[in-house]
Symmetry: D2
Amino acid sequence: MIRFECDYAEGAHPKIIERLAQTNFVQTKGYGEDEFSENARRMIRRLCLCESADVHFLMGGTQTNLTVIASILRPHQGVITATSGHINVHETGAIEATGHKVLALLTHNSKLTASQVEQVCLEHWNDVNHEHIVQPGMVYISNPTEGGVIYTKNELQSISDVCREYHLPLFLDGARLGYGLAAENNDLTLPDIAKMCDVFCIGGTKVGALCGEALVITNETLKTDFRYFIKQRGGMLAKGRLLGLQIEALFTNGLYFEIAQHAVRMALQIRNAFRLKGFRFLYESPTNQQFPILTNEHINMLSQKYAFELWAKIDDNRSAVRFCTSWATREEDVQILIKDVIQLFPPC
Amino acid sequence: MIRFECDYAEGAHPKIIERLAQTNFVQTKGYGEDEFSENARRMIRRLCLCESADVHFLMGGTQTNLTVIASILRPHQGVITATSGHINVHETGAIEATGHKVLALLTHNSKLTASQVEQVCLEHWNDVNHEHIVQPGMVYISNPTEGGVIYTKNELQSISDVCREYHLPLFLDGARLGYGLAAENNDLTLPDIAKMCDVFCIGGTKVGALCGEALVITNETLKTDFRYFIKQRGGMLAKGRLLGLQIEALFTNGLYFEIAQHAVRMALQIRNAFRLKGFRFLYESPTNQQFPILTNEHINMLSQKYAFELWAKIDDNRSAVRFCTSWATREEDVQILIKDVIQLFPPC
Amino acid sequence: MIRFECDYAEGAHPKIIERLAQTNFVQTKGYGEDEFSENARRMIRRLCLCESADVHFLMGGTQTNLTVIASILRPHQGVITATSGHINVHETGAIEATGHKVLALLTHNSKLTASQVEQVCLEHWNDVNHEHIVQPGMVYISNPTEGGVIYTKNELQSISDVCREYHLPLFLDGARLGYGLAAENNDLTLPDIAKMCDVFCIGGTKVGALCGEALVITNETLKTDFRYFIKQRGGMLAKGRLLGLQIEALFTNGLYFEIAQHAVRMALQIRNAFRLKGFRFLYESPTNQQFPILTNEHINMLSQKYAFELWAKIDDNRSAVRFCTSWATREEDVQILIKDVIQLFPPC
Amino acid sequence: MIRFECDYAEGAHPKIIERLAQTNFVQTKGYGEDEFSENARRMIRRLCLCESADVHFLMGGTQTNLTVIASILRPHQGVITATSGHINVHETGAIEATGHKVLALLTHNSKLTASQVEQVCLEHWNDVNHEHIVQPGMVYISNPTEGGVIYTKNELQSISDVCREYHLPLFLDGARLGYGLAAENNDLTLPDIAKMCDVFCIGGTKVGALCGEALVITNETLKTDFRYFIKQRGGMLAKGRLLGLQIEALFTNGLYFEIAQHAVRMALQIRNAFRLKGFRFLYESPTNQQFPILTNEHINMLSQKYAFELWAKIDDNRSAVRFCTSWATREEDVQILIKDVIQLFPPC
């Protein structure tokens, strides 16, 4: 079985394991105040060209999302997101459990637009009974999105502009940010994101780490007391070095970017094979996740040999599936898959 | 500087690091459904002589506490604990953030008693206006306690009996359970705990792991839907193997117990040195944490050479401090400390 | 200005004011345990043919909804409702503030169907990753709905059946239940509702009281500890008699039903006038709220003389508006309105 | 049976009932934007000499407390109060249900002191691990306290000063404020309170209304979006006039103060009788609640003829009880009680 079902099937990039072994006996302070974490913070700030940013390390995506969102919103406010947003569909109501409504908007190709955000604000503030309605309090987007799609620099700038006009902090969930930065035709950089967003995270778990996300807060107001929130939500590790060390390793000599480029290159080869045969896709993804729409027959054939995820039923005969690559995906496995795709009967 | 300030200053026991390296390229399912986690679960069940127990792995203590407590209580219920309980003082209101009052009782030597629990229940149910008061909904104890003190089998049995009489699930926080089981005069075993408690955790982070706690649920009712709660509170790791692997390594060939015995032996040698010189202690601890009461002058002298934690001010001239040992504590360092203690002026 | 904008513009039905004056000096117990409340409870139970029901009195609709829903759901569960449901749009996130997601479904004519509820359940339980998704925990419907529409006996029975199959308590919000029972072609009775639902409320505020809703709990499990929840959410009045007295007055000699019938009769006369002229309606309402779709010009003309609410913009030229009647609506005012409607230019 | 067990046994002062009847057919806007509420707001502002204050009307005490406190605190903050504070003991965890810890301090005579508040702040900010501890975020006091005791002008000024130094909003719960202002030796005025506190309420329910508290917000920051909070917590009445009308009636021609003076005068006569006979008191109350300590025998004798509340067990032979007066207490009933007290055997 050749596995393409997710980007978290293996442990960590070997350089991380090596680094854990190497530093194991060094004694450090706890709770993220160790030297490895401090160094990782410096590296992130430098890459973002933002010396004033606060950088924290958290274990995983849901924890990061709920901690950030609950720290920003007041009780009567909600967070605007795409209906496909991770916080809306795959976090078991983690945001609501902190007391806040997720204001989910239907999107095209899984991306939110600036004008959608503006419309929600206009509708809210123009309603004479707005006190009876959840107030929009911030915007959450992910890049890449749940569909593997990326925002252009212009799109993000427009969203950022609307957010600032309506005083809505903008939070970018970068659980797979590496793959977004390495995507075909991407024109966004870390410094752009640091300028346009108020807070964002750079995901480690799905880009080569055992666990860990780097959270970057650029908005001065949002920095206040953030460590209290990490602690309260259960995210402050006694051995915080575990997170700092991994991020440090990932950003040493550009490993993070190298890993991501490899994965995207592998994914695009897979995409091109499906495209060549005339298959359509659920989302137009230039990143490490590809969502071709296959017939049930194709799905059955491919599942004999490959592991991949069933993503969304299209109709009785067809479903979108997900093929996912990572730092650990081997080029020879991709070549084998491509050969098999090429031999599939073409879709009608 | 010789460090005794905590039990989480180093990485993990080398066998854990070794195991991480060894298994790194194995492909597994995510979210704790991997084979390492499954194996660790079996090991825990066997050690607890409780084949029907549910075993989950979580990252850290606060996360475990808030997830368990919020899963058990209904909205109008609170959790009974000692005022010194971790959930009452050192979790930034994590429990209250899930909506529940911590019903904190003053204790002697940091331990809750069965009769205290009973009294709270009697007072509540005898009050004609009990609907205006938070209903006691469960009991939380830690073993060892925050003061390093352990419960005897009889004490735990009595608490368990009262809890069952009043239908209060009993949760034992074993963040340092290894040290409790290895404590001088301990008569409690894992099977005892599994029988007397409804849910308890076996801490890894402070007993040799990088991170991770094994949560054992023996009460049938409390098992339902528990994975939803882990996910909702941000505790479900994509690479759940990280936790399973470590617990597996710790319970292979009794490593966990061996580590804990070493640490306790070191701590008792330190305790005996202070005792010999007539020092008194804040708590009577038979575990890896010792809390001698020192004069400011003693504290200043010892801090030149040793790292240890200032724990509680006793009066203007004296404070209780904490010396803490772990798997990584070296016997030669303990001997050096003992020599220095022996040469201290005796306290009046 | 003749007012049709809501059903809460005046005080209370005069019989209520009279009763308040009459009983003012009677001394009673507090917190809803007075004799007036007890008598009102008996009356409600009798009308519902359900002697075992628990009956509580709360101040208003949002408070009732949040208290009931938070009392039923466990933390990982959400409440299924129509997107137009009051809890989804007009309670400032009151439900989410108690920690729960509102699972809102698009509806036709503002009514939820049994098959929609079933589909949500099937999708949830068939998803292999259902632990990452909010679990459906109960169903909320209102009767009449926000659109003034009513459920038939068959429809409610079907929803009830699905709910019982999937163990979802069914909560019917009857803020305007009187108008639903008095509606044209209604075939539902209070005993039907008591049998089919697990908990429901009979609204007072919008059917002649100063304030107050009677909450009826028929499901044994949901009765437990309910007074704690009322107190915790701020709904337990020291002078609970204020609520009991009003409900008692409303159900003495059928006043509640009489009021509602009057209001519905008035509303249907208004509806018929608009219909006669060919106007369409946003919802097909047989109750005291009517939502004709008018051109901006019509709206301007009518607003000179009548107060009514702008409800939903249809396009640049047209909006749906709401005309609302109540116990206090005078027949002569309705006649004047009808004459004016008859003289409107017909819509294209 | 002559009743002294609470100050909410009757309906409302007759002037309120009269006013309800008189205005019943007036049509008004809903949700507290009616002319009666507007007028009541103006009256309150004038009495407080604070034209810029925001004034809202809520139904009852618990609702007011939870709405105010949840609107002020950020998630990691708690509210400082006396252990006897209503929010700590008699609101079924309403504050914790909004996510916040109640930081309860042991008090003498049920009053918090400025130095206690300061000490909590110093301890918090001096702790190197303060991020692990709930941050003090505001102060809650009640005046009169749960023990009927009042703060002097100097005491309140000192608390206010400390609060401002540590940026803690000060909330005064005046559920029985009228009785405090009318108390023997009181030197506080409404304008003093408006200047020294950031937000406070003037209770109606226990001082002659059917229900209703006037909430006065003087701190500019705390005013923002407050109506959203009222709505979200279920406190916004469709017929908000019910509250506005009553407050308006209470503050017309000084009725509120007159009622309170009568009740206090009655209570002090009762107090003096007990004092004369050598009885001691649980609290030194100069207001409408008196807490003499009686033997079980005395309690049995008096309960034959009088209703009063058993408050706190002192020892096996004695308990503190509560005698409570109100606008409705009749002087002749007080005289009868006094005669009976005078004939009691004196306590040892």
